[in-house]
Point group: D2
Chain length 489, copies 4
């Protein structure tokens, strides 16, 4: 089996020295900084599950590419059954972590690259596909974690890329050398990149033929010369920095989703890591195929897992308060269940209706319509779940004191008495569950879920692009026995 | 193949003489009355499709029971693949008809009966299952149309059945004879019953042990002595009665969903047609298993088909008006598509996650949670689709004149000019499509869709009954490292 | 007092002979045709209320213009208090009728004309305002009913009016004579026009300066030579035609909203009835000022009255069924109340924030933002109220038989027993209330309410036009202490 | 004029020494702790506005009680006009602060106390009203800030108060002395209490007659012996503690809404400060009258002000990105405007339909139905506004780095370039506005807005209690000519 242990993963990170900044300071070690550490912990879990008999069915599979069992997050789906497993893995990882499995975006980028390099080679006679497959074999054999990077800073949205005063607001090839290319620019909102072994870079969008230098895809380790990471910093980051004990926090071990801006200052990419370079008609395909596969999971089944965490916390609070029989609370819980199951159904349908794309490539992608439908539904559903869980949680979700008060001898007795709900549950548990709901309903997850895998408008546009109304019009024409059009004289 | 032709079906109806009333008058022939005729046409279509090479894959299947190809609507699902086909058939029939396939409720009742008679026999040593199977073989061999009947008039809802002054507001066994039973009462809101060969009757609800006489299920032809049908009569019925040509109407051939109240005045049911008689603990199972299978289709995929008709009509109007490029119209169309695909996904997931129920019975039923989720989503989605299509249709949807004006020499020129939208489409087509949207958005379908397969509260209650929050609570306990409860002193 | 009696109104109609067609036939007398009669009844009610001591406060007021008490529907609002009364009258008439008071659109057109003719005279030196006031004095003195007409057939929406092959798809001046003008074209979706004494015609939309011949407003009686009415014909029209007794119907006396297409075939309008003729920059003002006043009532408080009818019917059914204590039904009723009160609040706020428009004119119009907000909320609220009431009504709302069955000796006993809900309420009452809910929730009102006073997109566009974000931006700039922009080099 | 300056207010606070804990530590000075300071700043603003010619119309009024001009937040509304001003003040303070004016709850408690003490005296012959008025005169003359406190910890919700093992989970009178009473228990979720001069305490809920010791209302300064404050501590508190400069924060000066748990450990209340003591039938009135007045502002017009901040920030981001002409963004902005105006309309209607309560008392309260409708609408609207603004804000709202990076020489250039959107706006501004949207859409405001003034279910229950369907039923009975009930034999 080509599987690393969590310790081996940690050891591998120690050998890498990415240049990371957070909150105005340099991060000396991502293994030690309290916030970057959460990404490391999340990735470690992905290695642990693969070795755990309870979870190996979902987290591993056999790869004919290297004739070994590999971590699912390095594997290329080759059947509808693989897609169903992929959809289920999205739920599993997110309900276990309560945050991203940071290997997810890279995994989805692999699918886009496999499909599109195969197609470029077929259409253009390029040699990207074997190059990509060689790279992927290494990933599988070494069980590497890969992050994915698409989103870019961008300039004025009412101008074309070529009109921007600063051409590097989209990542650009600035030099083509014999042994590789040099790129300059940045990717933003990139999840967990500094703790990956490889960053897989795709274009941000389709490109027109005068944007050849923006049509680029490649993979590169995060400590490559010229790369810098400026990490996000939110109120939740501050809270984690200030905590005495991670159990004071809403998601102790795995925290919020951690992202960074990734800056490429004239970074050299050797040819063997370049998978798209100037073939502008295929840039858009790389993006939409990524979106197609990512929306099933990140936009669909992953949020089913988050909802499980939220529903579980709301249910516990209902029990702590003695509200088990209260009709409107039970109805709210059921409403959350319905929203969750709708997400699960759309994700499953996206998998079940998936197709080999392009035919002959061997790469299976989820159904594009259903993936978009999944994401679009989830965006709105997630805000609603937040509202419902916030209702059940009550005012304490936003007004509770620090859990440090439980250790403050002057205050402990007040907190123990007045946050007990008169129940026999340890007050510490009660406060922790409220803290968890604070994390979910009074923090980053509403906006984060909306924009992850693209905001709602992106799905609406895609649905409009895919929808074809011929079948529906034909039904009506037959039902009503419509006549042919007037002949024009 | 055990398949009737449409003509054979019509001929078989001529031999039956159900006692039917509509609009204060007796219906002499359901084949000739303009409104009851629509039910006959719908059933005829189900025979025609089964013989049509284009549709036979969906409308027929091999039945090991009689070792012949049978109409799907007489078949018992025996695998997940059967359930997926069943879900798809629900969409197919409804998009072809724009109304019920009236064999649907009976078909779903077969599943409930097969599952529950098998279980009763196993648990109680009764002999219902072989009796039911014999009946079903006849249905398959003769390719009979079966209606299903559950809903009852009921008395005061805040009283128990046993407290009602009139005990027949629920169907009741009034006599047990050597060769059969005698029942009295009524079923209401029953779709297409007078044009079926058999009416399959299930209980309306679970029954307590003091309601033994209400725990009854059986099958009986509609012209059995003592049976009377009082047909619904709506504005759409009046319009159909008054039309000169069915092409004036919104759904020319198949009309609205036609129901009736079915009255049983001391109707004798021979034992070989009785499938449940007094075993009160199983009455509720008959109902919930029916609901479970019916909600996947009637509550889910069937409405996908209706939405196709609506979306097609809205799209045509957009084109007639020259609004193809208008963003908000395109977004409305896409919203309808998303609602439709969500319904399709839930129906598909209900099939995919279906189970043999009870294990060993050989009968496959859709997943109960997903079936309920499908129906619950569709109820709200359908009203929204109506609102959106009504927006695109415009005021004409409710203000258009009769299509007879196209034949009125004094008026024709006005209508031709002023309802042309300046397009080269025949005004007749334009008016017909508006008429179709009137049918869908300004008529019975909102309320009908909501209550068919049970109103939303029925699904909410079922979701609350099924939902189990242990898994979700465990996730939270582990994530937060919650302590054990305080020990009670 | 300048007030007619209902009898005088009816007598006045007998002297008029408008050319009306319905369902492919000529309507000999709008007083006798069962469908056009409902408009006459509605107008009669407006005369009766004005003379009824219980209602005269709301239905009449003192007009300084003629120094007499007049019907409110002929009066020009001259204060905020007048606007509040106008808003309340909208609720009163609609809850009493369950349909349009057909004098409403003309009334709102008076406000637009008074405001805009005053402004044209001020700006252009025209003499429209005194001419309009003379006309209005006659309306007040004779207590005339006036209909209003704006909407037009229109050609391809992606073309300009001047590009349409048929230039008469918008009403057009075809000749200017010494004593008046001649117009050709049509207005569609016009409520109750054939039963009015006067039809007040405004442009359909703003006009560019090359559309001079479309910039026209005037008033004219419906039996003027060259005018033809093609009445709407819906399933509800057919049902009314076929009924033996109007008590079989959902809204016995007043029916559905009755509209027609009004055709102008070279109709001569004398100058004293022309209020706008070629001043294109003011065409749009006539439209938006009409919309501004109409949206407060037709789009706002009128629907409060309809909702009262719906809520009352749903409440009765709840009681008939013995569901008084059922939580989810009570919550649904409360949800309808909240939607209704929101509509009432927006209408009231539109009145309270109204302004004199233009300043100096003496004409008070509701606040434009609030009027649009009222309408936009109501559109969605009305569909929701329909869904909720349909839920409470149950399947019978769409499946009930004709009320004629109560008079059918063979069927009466079944209906009496099985639609009794075991209550001591006469079954006739129970059926009538279900019929009323059918009228409201399974008919024309969803689409009608949406499009009356303009569809949702019209309000969204207007809100975008009115909204000014300077205040909001300033708040943020001050809160965040934002810096000035970078200086451009 | 009885008005303090901000400096006088600050000086007055220095003389008070409340016992406050936050984040496990004692707060030595609420004037110096970065988080408690935000409450002081908010209150200071209320003193500054009253002296500012631009704002004095809204922030001050003449009080006949002391024959002087007073701060509105110490004044008793005595007319509909006062209520309208009160509603408007709610919007003004919240749009200026972006958080609570912490004098609001006390102000609303004054209204409840004035109304209910007057009624108790009238009904029971008690002397609470003159006692309360004396207290209020002092508040007015000294221009005191008053906080209000209702919510309590509570025990098991499925038990009665008298069944709780710990009777102090609701605030309870533990001793009645000659000169006053002694209370024990706690209030939770109390806004800004430690920075008030007086805390006005009302019961949490209605009380049954065996709960005499819980029926208590009084006013007391926060540094009274026996009182302790345990302040809330959220991620936003941590962020504020860690900031170098408050301009790094989303709401620099005024922050989040700051609450605390207020513990009463055998606190002595002199009789002249006791306004309710054992008269259980009036406890519920104190609560519902408070809710009635509080829901108009906290639940209604206050959120209009917050929405202005959110809309302003979203609009600025639209402009920074060059998205001014993008239809879906403009539609989202308009949707927020519609939600805001709906809130404003409901608040205004609540004021306009207000009444003297009880008649004769001279105290005006908003309309109860409209106040509840306002709050109920706002709860859902606020979550929607968050989702919409989060959409416009984009992923950066949750992924942006610390604003400290702008001062980090190694990182500044990256941030300046890549968060510029290619615009000429200082990047600092761009980041600040994103930070503000983070504050509003990715933090405490969704849950906080929902629960402030009571969660949605509280409003639903109140609407059900107030709604009376007699008028609506009468309308239907008349419209349908319903018969009288069957006579019972």
């Amino acid at each position: 089996m080509a599987l690393m242990t969590p310790d081996q993963y940690e050891a591998s990170l120690k050998r890498m020295k990415p240049r990371v900044f957070m909150n105005g300071k340099k991060v000396d070690s991502i293994l030690e900084n309290k916030n970057t550490q959460t990404v490391v912990e999340s990735n470690k879990a992905s290695y642990a599950w693969a070795l755990d008999p309870r979870y190996k069915d979902i987290m591993t599979c056999y790869s004919p590419l290297i004739d070994e069992v590999v971590n699912r997050y390095t594997y290329l789906s080759a059947s509808l059954d693989d897609l169903v497993k992929k959809a289920q893995a999205g739920t599993f990882t997110s309900e276990m972590l309560g945050t991203c499995t940071y290997r997810c975006v890279g995994y989805d980028a692999f699918h886009s690259l496999a499909s599109t390099t195969w197609e470029m080679d077929r259409d253009l006679g390029t040699k990207y596909y074997p190059r990509f497959i060689e790279f992927l074999k290494t990933v599988q054999k070494k069980d590497l974690s890969a992050a994915g990077a698409l989103t870019e800073p961008r300039g004025k949205r009412n101008q074309k890329t070529s009109e921007w005063a600063d051409p590097h607001l989209s990542l650009k090839i600035v030099e083509r050398k014999k042994d590789g290319i040099v790129v300059r620019g940045a990717k933003i909102n990139i999840s967990g990149a500094y703790a990956a072994h490889e960053i897989v870079v795709l274009p941000q969008s389709a490109h027109s033929k005068d944007e050849v230098d923006y049509a680029v895809a490649f993979a590169i380790p995060p400590d490559t010369r010229g790369m810098t990471f400026v990490a996000q910093y939110t109120p939740f980051s501050a809270e984690r920095e200030m905590c005495d004990d991670i159990e004071e926090l809403g998601n102790p071990l795995f925290g919020q989703r951690e992202t960074s801006m990734v800056i490429f200052e004239d970074v050299f990419i050797p040819w063997e890591r370049v998978f798209h370079c100037g073939e502008t008609p295929y840039s858009g395909k790389l993006v939409t195929r990524f979106a197609r596969t990512h929306r099933m999971t990140c936009g669909g089944t992953c949020k089913v897992g988050f909802m499980n965490q939220i529903i579980g916390a709301a249910k516990l609070i209902q029990e702590y308060k003695g509200l088990d029989k209260v009709a409107h609370i039970n109805e709210e819980l059921a409403e959350m269940v319905v929203l969750r199951e709708t997400g699960r159904a759309c994700g499953l349908a996206a998998a079940m209706k998936g197709t080999e794309e392009p035919p002959g490539s061997g790469v299976f992608l989820p159904d594009e319509m259903m993936g978009n439908v999944a994401k679009l539904n989830i965006c709105n559903a997630f805000w609603r779940v937040m509202a419902l869980a916030g209702d059940i949680g009550g005012g304490l979700v936003v007004t509770m004191p620090s859990m440090k008060e439980l250790k403050n001898p002057e205050v402990k007795k007040y907190v123990e008495e007045f946050y007990s709900f008169g129940s026999d549950e340890p007050t510490e548990n009660i406060m922790k569950v409220h803290k968890a709901l604070q994390h979910w309903t009074a923090g980053l997850h509403g906006v984060g879920t909306w924009h992850g895998a693209g905001p709602v408008m992106a799905q609406k546009i895609m649905v409009q692009r895919i929808a074809n109304y011929e079948h529906e019009k034909e039904l009506v024409k037959r039902t009503l026995n419509l006549k042919d059009k007037k002949k024009k004289p």
